[in-house]
Symmetry: C2
Subunit: 483 residues, 2 copies
Amino acid sequence: MNNKDTIHMSINEFKENGYKVIDWIADYYENIESYPVLSTIKPGELRKSLPKNPPKDGENFNNILTDMDDKIIPGVTHWQSPNFFAYFPCNATGPAILGDLLSSGLGIQGMLWASSPACTELESHVLDWLVDMLHLPEKFKSDSFGGGVIQDTASSATLCALIAAREKISNGKINESGFDNSIRVYTSMEAHSSIEKAVKIAGIGSKNIRLIEVDQDFAMNPIKLREAINKDIKNRKIPAFVCATIGTTSSSAIDPLNEIGEICNEFGIWLHVDAAMAGSASICPEYRFIHDGIDYADSYCFNPHKFLLTNFDCSCLYVSDREALIKSLTINPEYLKTEVSQSDAVFDYRDWQVPLGRRFRALKLWSVIRYYGINGIQSHIRGHIKSAKFLSDLITEDNRFEVMAPTVLNLVCFRYRESNQFNKLLLNELNNSGELYLVHTKLNNKYTIRFSIGQTNTTKDHVLNAWKFILKKTEELERTMVK
Amino acid sequence: MNNKDTIHMSINEFKENGYKVIDWIADYYENIESYPVLSTIKPGELRKSLPKNPPKDGENFNNILTDMDDKIIPGVTHWQSPNFFAYFPCNATGPAILGDLLSSGLGIQGMLWASSPACTELESHVLDWLVDMLHLPEKFKSDSFGGGVIQDTASSATLCALIAAREKISNGKINESGFDNSIRVYTSMEAHSSIEKAVKIAGIGSKNIRLIEVDQDFAMNPIKLREAINKDIKNRKIPAFVCATIGTTSSSAIDPLNEIGEICNEFGIWLHVDAAMAGSASICPEYRFIHDGIDYADSYCFNPHKFLLTNFDCSCLYVSDREALIKSLTINPEYLKTEVSQSDAVFDYRDWQVPLGRRFRALKLWSVIRYYGINGIQSHIRGHIKSAKFLSDLITEDNRFEVMAPTVLNLVCFRYRESNQFNKLLLNELNNSGELYLVHTKLNNKYTIRFSIGQTNTTKDHVLNAWKFILKKTEELERTMVK
């Protein structure tokens, strides 16, 4: 953008359109509760409304905003609605949106320290802050042998940790020569699907993951882990990587890190901890117990884009031995060599991730931490967990329903004490109403409704109203079923 | 953001701060040429200026903007300066910044069609548009057996293509059982380092890449490719993947797709085409020759965030057989199952990429295509290529310098006809001046300066002034060396 020619948006035009977009977003949040939470469009419907061919001549930017209202909004499932209780939240907030806007405006690319030092340094700094905020081990800080880096998602963070573990145990041999196919990976039956995806991508093979049984609370059973490891060692396999979960996707179960960590320590296995959703809760002293045993971890990941008020994408990966990570991912062609990189005085984050290029994502995280402060974030997280416990109590009091897993943090898993079919119908009715959005899982092979609380603006009232609505729909369905 | 409580940014406060951020960005572009292009801070300098501890209480958003000026800007290497000629460009433009802002505002997550249909449908639609705009084969369109998807970078796109090829040739066996270590990958000696990185991540092993020799123009020599394949087959290895480059990073060399494609076809090898930088040029009929032979490609990638006026990150990956890609990356846990997904009526883009979650990146691309139209983008690209040829001619006319590779598109590679040391000193002098930013490569083992033209606001005048400045610094250095 400049003031000199006609093809590009002039600076004044940018300002004018920029204000309009800001207003558009403000209006969106003003009206967000008036939209059906789950989009009601049919497959292909949005595409049908778009011109088949791209425009030959440029259009006025206003056309985009008109189409946002007319075409895009009907196709949006509103993750920022306070009545969005599906999946896990993907928090957007004012300071995060504006921090991200600053990043888009600067338009820098932080693959190397030298390619924009501020991008790397602010990232290391804010990630060190978060070690303190979440009471994580000092070894994850950049002034130790470890350090933190922002990834797009926990899937990518897990993949990077797995590659680092794979190379550490093979002394760099797999990177160089490929596989001898003897590596084994362990995680619980309730772990996220991204572990299996990473195992596949890394060429280890999904047959070589051991999905360890869980206890009655859906947490990994460490006795079963030890058994699996011993069995593999007997078969001359190499146990390389354990992924423990703090807050599983299905039920927010917390794997016992102390027991798992001791085993990993004994056998020299890389321990990765996936706390994508739940980790943020550790900013409150009363929820720090979720990380008991975290000292054993070689790597750790949590997503500020889930529960820490920061727009997607922002997943923080920490390692205690950054050399292991860097060695496994580094490539150093001539055109990327800089003097400062070769001096070891700086981090080049391209070697901490799959992609080469990277956005200035630390800005939005920095903006959020400063705008809210530790106190503000704590109060936000406490509010949501309190709402979840409130809901869990309401459900427990109603004999027609059962709570399917402990409500440790902000996720409530429940079902109507009836057939899977009833619960499935109920969920469909609820989601088709547009009033709220929930998704299901299976726990002990029973169809279970997940009520995940975490959208920035969700209050106790939203949760209460949602519960009343669930009761209303349940009763309607009960009447139908009786007929 | 809402109007009801005190912790979050209210809607009015968002508007107020939003206008300020828009103004801040406008001022940034107004003043961008006054900053040294390459940041002059020393390692650790920015961090020293930041508080050691995160704030307990929230701060006013204005503090962020103050610190942007005082602390962040000195640490920024200005990729959006029209005097940035380093690496490859990373175009930011008004419509892209605002399209991205709309995406941040909506804050949706498009992992599944159902998780926000607009995100998936707009993406498929715009990527189909681009097939037409770039004259790519129809098989890459979503209504054929292929389709396109937005990735963060070409590195990730290459990795996905490689995994798909790996699984296709092993009939899904590697995903399941891990490696037998017999797979071979081919690319040229001048290909991007991301190929080797992908090969390592995928567990194939860097020893199993054959870096094929190049011709005098740094393009892959297909005779050598055939030789390498034949040799590997003789050794009972399995040639699985060839990556051809359209526009290498060092010198913008164009690999001969027709010859390479014929070989791949003959041996049943997956052909991936990495056109990260150069692909966009194909929007102009006169540069379409770069894609001669593209019909042979199984997958293709180019980055609108390089040369197509769209903010980082936005890399488009196309495949001709989407089932191969999806099969290699799909994971389907209970909590991600939706009825519409199981009906095959829609794309779930989580199965087309490494991460699970995804931003609504199609908005910025849509915004750019509509704002500029095909004509606008063509005129932008033509201007830059014309400037590069203009510069190349100027250099050729000066006997003290030599152009090191054909100037096919927007990259000019040159050196002073002197020692590598002289060129290195010259480059350091230039970059330390703050007037412009260039990086080097090695061609035929000679230290070569790369002059990459592509920032949105770079004009012929910027190029001419840069060249005059290079001459001035050269002459200063000549005088020093004589002493």
